[in-house]
Symmetry: C2
Subunit: 403 residues, 2 copies
């Protein structure tokens, strides 16, 4: 096999993310987009970041902020995160924290650590598209994760060949794409099942801090700690991120888990990119220490108003036969359309005729099923854009239904 | 297999980098260390970085600098790099450049793209330890890369099973660890061989800009472009980095290659960490545009004086039977000791009795052979530390030889 043949053969391992390819088409200013699952950039604490970059670069840390640093991450940031995790019911130390370049990198490393080709990953149906992207590189099969699934654990293991199921992955709070939160009883059921199957649980907490109402449910890792008597006995790997609370462009996330997991991930990170950017970790630590809770409270006020506007507009504009989730936080509402209505076809028509955009739901299913679904993000739209956008979407849907 | 058994079974894929573990022991201030292969932090253009962070964060790019961005990297930086590559004899466009989080990340992605377990990578004997670390995750075998090796290509392919050799990896300029540069004729010989074998060439150019004297040799990618009629026909993948010229802590590197390679790596990066930190790319671009050549000229003056001091001290202090390289650039000098002298044992004794440190050479060989070697880095030592350090090292060696 020569080089060009080899290279061509490697394309099959990867395919472009539909969402990111789609985003490239949305630069036209007259499109109202509910597609991008990104935070509103006008809400970033840019002034605090500017001041902190300036003070770090003018202070005694300047040279070390520009230098190589340890793969584990900046110790004061890891200590700050350990204290946050303790407040969430996960008593732990800095040695239980690894800093990653966003939680996306944690998903990649966990796939690399745990999956061999043909292994099985249990994921939500639907699930976060970026998780499928990260795991796909390691060529797993997928089984449907439903914590209340009444199949006995053994049946699942058998279906996948003994030992082939390696982990269950989920976003328990305000999931991307559904906006839904896993109730406490189902979190316990999931841990029961993971224990019976001898597998890990990957808890993606990207949106956890963005709860606007309702009662907080403890992280799965906190429940695991309480059941198993301490973080060192847990099987849950918690992936956190500053991307939705402070800013995604600095690429700072973290993993919280038992030390043997962290130690392996540290070696993996050392081999893969040495460490996350030193300066970004120092600045993130100082900004978080200064204003994290206050800033997140401000996000709650703005994002919850947008969610409310979207829920009200949906009630007003959606034709009969369309249903949707009512999330208590996060950035997303998930729509289920009449069976025969294809989300991708609807998108093509919505962009062409009404200049309104969203993400078709099929991409979020490991098998591409459930194409009569779509995801709306309310994070970047003003209430008036939301009203106008849903009026447009309603018109597109009704024109499809009338055919 | 349960979760703990599974986790335990995954340790074998990774082992800690000897160098990084060693570095942790060198915090004692009275040790003179020639171990760390890192740039001198007092030489970073910290003032220019401080000003640029401040102006970007105060300007119209502030919000987008903190936001998600495209996986390919910041377009103005990619354009600046394409122009630099053209000046090095590689006419290309931004579409031939991917921004990575340091060139280490490029090595990880190339391993992920090209290696399956049992495949063969050809590497220098010795080679960059971090490349072995990155590739090891994909479980390759290693063959010795020697461009003038007179075995016919077919013999190598047969030894490794047909098609099993995937690429040759090397640092042609001022290599880590030897400091040596591959002459022009051998670069051509390497391309001849890669062509005959149908494999890729990974050109790690981390130190290329740090030439202090002698005549520059064109990058292998430039030779490949000239032979094959344009970058789109090349088999060479060039990995660059700002870590040794501007600052490593921001984690900005790049890959330059034919578009099909870049496109696959972009998808891989999208799945693995979405993109490198947006702000860091913007700031690196502006600082590079402002002062790259001038700043690198200053590094040449300082580092070449340190290299000269180390060469002079070696001539003065080394016992008979020790030989060393005379690099025209970079940060490293490589010592070959008398056959019976073990670099690792020498290090243990050097730290204990004379408080002087270096990196034993065995770690740089894929098979751990050639233990009678060591690497000295002159990047962070003053001429007086160099004089004192080599006097100490000479004493330790002589005490070993007298036994």
């Amino acid at each position: 096999m020569d080089w060009n043949t080899l290279l061509a053969s490697r394309g099959a391992r990867m395919k472009a993310s539909e969402i990111r390819e789609l985003l490239k088409l949305l630069d036209q200013p007259d499109i109202i987009s509910f597609a991008g699952g990104i935070p509103d950039p006008t809400l970033f604490p840019a002034q605090a970041f500017a001041e902190t970059f300036a003070s770090v670069m003018a202070g005694p840390l300047a040279n070390s902020a520009l230098q190589y640093s340890v793969s584990e991450g900046y110790l004061p940031l890891r200590e700050w995160l350990a204290a946050r995790m303790a407040a969430l019911g996960v008593p732990c130390g800095a040695e239980n924290i690894l800093i990653t370049s966003g939680s996306q990198q944690a998903l990649d490393y966990l796939g690399k650590l745990l999956l061999s080709p043909g292994d099985t990953a249990m994921v939500g149906w639907p699930t976060y598209l970026g998780a499928l992207g990260a795991f796909n590189a390691y060529e797993p099969r997928y089984e449907r994760l439903d914590p209340l699934d009444n199949r006995p654990a053994g049946e699942l293991v058998d279906a996948a060949a003994p030992g082939a199921v390696k982990f269950a992955y989920l976003t328990p709070d305000f999931a991307n794409p559904t906006g839904e939160t896993l109730p406490l009883a189902q979190r316990h059921a999931l841990l029961d099942r993971a224990e019976a199957m001898g597998i890990a649980v990957i808890e993606d907490s990207a949106y956890q801090a963005l709860r606007y109402d309702g009662e907080a449910v403890p992280p799965i890792l906190a429940l695991d700690v309480a059941r198993s008597g301490g973080i060192e006995n847990t099987r849950t790997i918690y992936c956190g991120s500053f991307s939705k609370t402070l800013a995604p462009g600095l690429r700072v996330g973290w993993v919280c888990a038992a030390k043997p997991v962290i130690q392996r991930l540290v070696l993996m990170k050392q081999a893969a990119d040495l460490h996350s950017a030193t300066l970004n970790q120092i600045v993130t630590h100082q900004v978080a220490e200064k204003l994290f809770d206050r800033h997140v409270a401000g996000l709650h006020a703005t994002y919850s108003a947008r969610r409310d506007a979207l829920l009200a507009a949906l009630a007003r504009e959606m034709p009969e036969g369309v249903s949707w989730t009512r999330p208590e936080g996060g950035m997303f509402i998930w729509l289920t359309l009449p069976e025969a209505m294809d989300g991708a076809a609807l998108l093509a028509r919505a962009i062409a005729t009404e200049k309104v955009a969203f993400v078709p739901g099929g991409a979020f299913f490991a098998d591409g099923s459930n194409r009569n679904t779509l995801r709306l993000s309310f994070s970047c739209a003003s209430p008036s854009q939301i009203d106008e956008g849903m009026a447009r979407l309603g018109r597109v849907m009704r024109s499809r239904l009338e055919k």
